[in-house]
């Protein structure tokens, strides 16, 4: 994991001081509400329905036991004893007092955490694959590149007031677990035919009101030029992105209006004068950052652990968990393990102070002190030895982390919705819970197989409903809370935006609607097909027929 040196630490501490003074001036009336707004947003501070909400940055999901313990302390001391993992790998506190925020940030700075640029019209947290560095299908470890981008984007003086927020994701594996296609900039770390490292650059993806999959604007960018090229994209966007209409201000609108070719041309023209400037990356810097992401000293095992395999054969409960929550690892005898934060009746992604501490203990005991947040709102232990899995499973069960549903229908991605968010059209959490209750039979759930169900409380799409295989969107229908369903969305290599099924439904209809959709799949699937495959093959019509037929 990256460890701050004195420079990194000083920047974070300077920020705490600066923000403390801004809050002071705000409370004394020297800064107006409007002037304070972007300042506090750039520090992750929203004023929400019931209280301020503070979004803390977890750069590319990297957490440690020390960070979790500090977070636990902060949630107890300054909040209501729980936190929330977001769909961008960050962590939110729902109930801090405005006056306490500087102290919270000072606490977090002691474990190299902050809230810098977690909101506002600036470059946000760079996200990546939660299995980075351990995935078997990885070509390039994306984490050093995430850190390099993190440093470059932190307080970038030119890009603090962009037309709109700006999100970058980096993927380095064959499969795309970072959803690069739906980010303002997506980077696929690749090697060209000569074996040289570089990036495929996508621009103009995003969700929200006008969901779009990004276009490749450069098939191969040699790594040395990463920062100058990013800077060129951002400059074109900063100058020419729309500022007259907040709903048309994302880079995707600019890329679409210009066409990706013309946009790419503008970027290249800008880049021509910046290329090879002092900002060009050096091997030395890449080495400096990469040393923090070396493979740990793995114990040498000869293939899979026998006792683990035996336990899987003989204990169905364990096997269910291993099937869903244990992931392949590149080192023999090791595994990555997801701690599910999606048990039924808990808001997806919520985690209590006790659980934060328990997860810290698990990380120390089983995973070299390292733990990660995922954009599916779960936690991952990246370095677990297979022989420890039975014991880890027991502990996870006691702690409420063992719901064996990762990648299944009840592993729902869900935004805070109407229970917390003032922009919501409808509540989202109760819908998630109702669906989880409907599909509480484990065998059935496992039989349905891989399925992503995503819920957003309004078209801002914080719950990524567009890229859910089943997407649910809260809409306002004459003042009533209704839900629109879409099918066929997906992230990953062949990212696509879901298609709307038809007229929206009342909350109480939702479990039945999802049940009907699932039935159509189960009746039509071939043995190998996942939900998304069947949908792709048979199309929308059978789903539509079934759902609306009985609806008269």
């Amino acid at each position: 994991m990256y460890i701050y040196d004195e420079y990194d630490q000083r920047i974070v501490e300077d920020r705490v001081k600066q923000f403390r003074d801004q809050i002071r001036r705000y409370l004394q009336g020297e800064l107006s509400e409007a002037e304070m707004l972007p300042l506090r947003l750039q520090n992750g501070l929203y004023i929400q329905r019931y209280a301020p909400m503070l979004r803390l940055a977890v750069p590319y999901g990297a957490l440690s036991s020390a960070r979790l313990r500090k977070l636990a302390y902060v949630t107890r001391r300054y909040d209501k004893g729980y936190a929330h993992i977001t769909t961008r790998q960050n962590i939110q506190l729902n109930w801090p007092e405005l006056e306490d925020v500087p102290d919270i940030l000072a606490e977090l700075a002691t474990v190299q955490m902050h809230a810098i640029q977690t909101s506002g019209n600036c470059i946000r947290n760079t996200t990546t694959d939660q299995f980075a560095g351990v995935a078997a299908d990885e070509v390039v470890d994306p984490r050093p590149w995430c850190e390099i981008v993190r440093e470059w984007s932190t307080f970038h003086p030119e890009f603090a007031f962009l037309p709109r927020k700006f999100k970058i994701a980096i993927n380095g594996a064959r499969e795309d677990r970072a959803a690069v296609g739906v980010h303002d900039i997506g980077l696929n770390a690749i090697r060209n035919e000569a074996g040289e490292l570089g990036f495929e650059v996508l621009a103009g993806g995003g969700l929200g009101r006008t969901p779009m999959v990004g276009a490749v604007i450069r098939p191969f960018l040699p790594w040395q030029h990463l920062l100058t090229y990013l800077e060129s994209i951002l400059r074109v966007y900063n100058r020419y992105g729309r500022r007259d209409n907040k709903f048309k201000a994302r880079i995707k609108i600019l890329v679409k209006a210009l066409t990706p070719e013309v946009f790419a041309g503008k970027v290249e023209a800008e880049w021509a004068s910046m290329k090879d400037s002092g900002a060009t990356l050096t091997q030395e810097e890449v080495d400096r950052v990469s040393q923090y992401f070396q493979e740990p000293a793995y114990e040498a095992f000869d293939g899979d652990d026998a006792s683990y395999l035996e336990k899987r054969r003989t204990d169905k409960g364990f096997d269910n968990w291993a099937m869903r929550n244990v992931h392949p690892h590149r080192a023999p005898g090791y595994a990555a393990v997801t701690l599910s934060l999606k048990p039924t009746s808990v808001a997806p992604g919520d985690i209590t102070a006790e659980q934060l501490e328990a997860a810290a203990d698990l990380a120390d005991r089983y995973s070299l002190g390292e733990i990660r947040s995922t954009h599916y709102q779960n936690l991952v232990l990246p370095y677990v030895q297979q022989r420890d899995l039975p014991e880890l499973w027991q502990k996870c069960r006691e702690l409420g982390f063992a719901t064996p549903n990762i990648g299944l229908l009840t592993d729902i991605i869900c935004c805070p919705g109407g229970d917390f968010c003032s922009l919501a059209n409808a509540k989202s959490l109760p819908i998630a819970e109702a669906i989880q209750r409907t599909f509480d039979d484990l065998d059935y759930l496992h039989d349905i197989g891989e399925l992503e169900l995503n819920i957003s409380g309004c078209m801002n799409a914080c719950g990524h409903h567009h890229i859910g295989h089943i997407g649910i969107l809260g809409v306002d229908k004459k003042g009533q809370e209704f839900y629109q369903v879409s099918l066929g969305g997906r992230s990953g290599r062949d990212a696509a935006i879901g298609q709307i099924l038809g007229p929206s439904f009342a909350a109480e209809q939702m479990p039945t609607v999802v049940q009907k959709v699932i039935n159509v799949y189960v009746e039509n699937r071939t043995p190998e097909e996942r939900f998304i495959d069947t949908y792709q093959r048979i199309g929308m019509a059978p789903f539509k027929e079934s759902v609306y037929a009985a609806n008269h």
């Binding site: 002037e35 019209n121 003086p157 890009f159």
Partner: protein, 165 residues
């Protein structure tokens, strides 16, 4: 008299910022004037024939490319922020300095507030006409908000990774 921040000091303002709709006939001969871009584009000859100092000011949507060939005539280029959250001129300032090598004064005008000064300075602004209701002396503090910066920018051609030790 208004006071502005120049370099790291507060000084008396000597320039006259002319409104958008000013006409040539209204101009004094010997004052130091900041003229709107359209006036410059229409009357550059007349403006150059004056005795007083000359600067130009650009709206947020006016591009520095439009004055790239004229920069030697301006002692000041002022960049207007209609609201402080409109960030276009951060790029303009860097282009003036880094691409066009402009050496004169680059001044921030309009909705200029202390919490933006640090970034502005990094992008090549060296003068700040703070919004009239704000105290420029207090604002000086914000020029020191950060003691370390990661990126290469106008004030520092090398990124931290080339300076780190």
């Amino acid at each position: 008299m208004q006071r502005i921040i120049k370099g790291d000091q507060v000084i008396d303002e000597t320039w006259h910022l002319l409104p958008r709709d000013v006409t040539l006939a209204e101009l004094s001969n010997s004052d130091d004037l900041l003229v709107p871009l359209p006036l410059w584009q229409e009357h550059s000859h007349a403006l150059l024939a004056r005795d007083g100092g000359l600067g130009v000011w650009l709206e947020a949507d006016e591009e520095v490319e439009s004055i790239a060939d004229d920069l030697q005539h301006f002692q000041v280029v002022a960049l207007n922020f209609p609201v402080f959250s409109d960030g276009r001129h951060y790029s303009s300032a860097r282009l003036l300095r880094e691409r066009y090598k402009y050496q004169g004064e680059v001044r921030a005008i309009g909705d200029v507030l202390r919490d933006q000064l640090f970034f502005m300075k990094r992008c090549g602004f060296d003068a700040f006409a703070l919004r009239a209701d704000r105290d420029p002396y207090e604002a000086l503090e914000s020029l020191k908000d950060f003691s370390v910066t990661y990126q290469a920018a106008t004030d520092e051609p090398l990124p931290l990774f080339r300076r780190r030790r």
